[in-house]
């Protein structure tokens, strides 16, 4: 569509690129249906998406890695069905990606510079990893330049920047308390360009592709929530779409790893599941080409798509936080019960003391009475 066209005039359209790579029409249509489902559109939108992708030019995309573990890249590349990886890579023209590109060293940096220079305001920038700000940003440098400087230049000249994963979104794990490098998310240092956040550790590649396909189809970025995350991917609560939910309501819980409840696929709430306060499409989009997802595989949700999840969602295996400064053994309940028992003991002591006093006072009064009598 309109915007898609002027992105890169000499390149083939998305559909042409896919056909050149040997992706069949059938697989292409399947992909379009998947995208319609991901974007929470009715199935009737699949042909519209197909139509748009047939005409749209592949947007150039550069992928920056800062303070990260490469997990989003892994997630990006690890779809079990190779066709989907092909499609994803072919919908996007990935011109710079430190982990997967062929050039290295100066040549690599040159291809980044070329994109920034020649396609100013037309390319999409994906950022993976947090950006350290302390001490002039020295804690993460690529090719001798601080991450924060690279981000300002590359994100600042992009058409739109997509912060992929928890770290790029709000600083994630590098920014966890005590945040020694002053790590922050992209939104904290970049302004003036649209930023789409894809929280999660890692973010789901389906949501990245969905964001781009939304742009190619409708010519606009998807609607976002107050975290700047697309509503199609982050608008529903894990707990509300979870396949174990019926067990939750019924009160059937896994109480120990490997117990009968665990083998029966019961709810992981008791084990510390953070699904009740986490918003992401994991239960429906799933992972690895819709094979499974953490809760489906028998592990509780750790709330990785929540703000500052390393600080706010730990302990991962308990619903209730430990009391700061006390040992792990001193749970809130022990301290609370201790308070109640101490109070009861105090009250009992008062009652006993009062009974004793009464007795003494009584004797005193008798004595006084006697002396006065004398």
């Amino acid at each position: 569509m309109g915007e898609g066209k002027d992105l890169r005039d000499s390149s083939p359209t998305v559909y042409q690129a896919l056909r050149q790579r040997g992706v069949s029409r059938r697989d292409f249509m399947k992909f379009c249906s998947l995208m319609a489902a991901t974007l929470a559109l009715p199935a009737s939108f699949a042909p519209k998406i197909a139509e748009a992708l047939e005409k749209a030019k592949r947007p150039s995309l550069v992928w920056l890695e800062f303070q990260d573990c490469c997990g989003n890249t892994e997630s990006f590349l690890r779809a079990s069905n190779p066709t989907v990886v092909d499609i994803v890579l072919d919908v996007l023209s990935v011109d710079y990606h430190e982990t997967i590109m062929a050039p290295a060293g100066k040549d690599a940096e040159k291809s980044l510079q070329d994109v920034v220079k020649n396609q100013k305001g037309k390319y999409i920038c994906v950022v993976e990893g947090a950006i350290p700000t302390r001490d002039g940003g020295v804690y993460c440098c690529v090719g001798g330049r601080a991450a924060i400087d690279i981000a300002k230049e590359v994100c600042g000249n992009s058409l739109a920047t997509i912060a992929m994963g928890a770290c790029a979104w709000d600083g994630g794990i590098p920014s966890a308390n005590p945040n020694p490098t002053g790590a922050v998310g992209v939104k904290d240092v970049i302004s003036g360009v649209p930023i789409i956040n894809l929280p999660g550790c890692p973010a789901n590649v389906v949501n990245l592709t969905g964001t781009v396909v939304h742009y190619l189809t409708f010519g606009s970025l998807p609607l976002t929530d107050n975290n700047g995350a697309p509503l199609f991917g982050y608008g529903t609560r894990i707990h509300d779409a979870c396949q174990r939910r019926a067990h939750y309501d019924a009160g059937r819980y896994v109480r120990q790893w490997g117990d009968e409840g665990h083998r029966n696929g019961w709810c992981l709430y008791y084990m510390g599941c953070k699904g009740p306060e986490t918003y992401k499409n994991c239960p429906t989009a799933q992972w690895n080409d819709r094979t499974s997802w953490p809760v489906g595989a028998g592990h509780n949700c750790i709330g990785c798509a929540s703000p500052k999840f390393w600080d706010t969602m730990t302990p991962f295996y308990s619903r209730l936080a430990a009391i700061p400064g006390f040992g792990v053994e001193s749970t809130a309940d022990k301290v609370g019960l201790g308070l109640a028992i101490a109070t009861a003991a105090g009250v009992t002591a008062h009652a006993i003391a009062r009974a004793g006093r009464k007795h003494i006072r009584h004797e005193d009064e008798e004595k006084t009475a006697k002396t006065e009598g004398k």
């Binding site: 019924a250 009160g251 929540s306 706010t312 809130a332 609370g336 109640a340 003391a353």
Partner: protein, 221 residues
């Protein structure tokens, strides 16, 4: 003095809204504590395929929570509309006589005087404890609705408590919502003990007053 003590004055201290909110709150807090503990640590095991244990616990917690909210709202209204004993002014000791009363009651509790001072309404000490308790109640309501805002994203639930999630993260809210249940328990233990104590030593029908509304005051002394 001795003659005056014989004459009892019947005073209507606790009007109906005060007694209603007291007893509904007692029931609500009992339900909230039991169901809340279950929500935090589901201690019951499923009995049949038809169980809906967590569903019911949450339903009861929420229902009791709403009843609690209504009763607190009623009591706040009554602290402006009700009689002088239930007025908001009594809850924080500011005037000279309130501070004096606070001292005297404390002295009585510490065995420094043998009879409790004369109080038609709450003693300054009790009133202040109720004020602190009220602050805990407010937090429980706001934090409870903040937790519930994850289940129900409505404007009403946002106003009732959802906004708290902008100031504290959910983990901290849940921790304090859980933790502050225990000071309430501690209050109740002391409260029941002192009600019995003051009833027997004050001989003013204190215990009956929270049921029937009337106290039977002996002469000032």
């Amino acid at each position: 003095m001795a003659e005056a003590a014989e004459v009892r004055r019947r005073i209507y201290v606790w009007e109906f809204p005060v007694r209603l909110s007291h007893w509904v709150n007692v029931m609500a807090i009992t339900v909230l504590s039991v169901t809340g503990l279950y929500i935090g640590t589901p201690f019951l095991y499923p009995v049949s395929d038809q169980s809906f244990t967590m569903g019911w616990m949450r339903f009861l917690h929420l229902t009791a929570g709403y009843a609690f909210l209504m009763m607190i709202a009623l009591r706040v209204y009554w602290s402006f509309a009700g009689n002088k004993y239930s007025n908001w002014r009594v809850f924080v000791p500011r005037s000279k006589s309130q501070v004096q009363d606070l001292k005297e009651v404390t002295n009585y509790y510490l065995f420094k005087r043998s009879t409790p001072p004369y109080d038609e309404g709450h003693t300054a000490c009790a009133a202040f404890a109720y004020f602190l308790l009220f602050l805990i109640f407010l937090f429980q309501i706001v934090s409870g609705f903040a937790l519930f805002n994850n289940d129900s994203h409505t404007a009403v639930h946002f106003i009732l408590g959802g906004w708290l999630a902008n100031l504290m993260n959910i983990k901290t809210i849940r921790f304090w919502h859980h933790m502050l249940m225990y000071p309430i328990w501690a209050f109740v233990i002391v409260h029941i003990y002192l009600s019995l104590l003051m009833d027997s030593s004050g001989k003013n029908g204190l215990l009956g007053s929270i049921f029937g509304g009337y106290k039977f005051m002996a002469g000032r002394g």
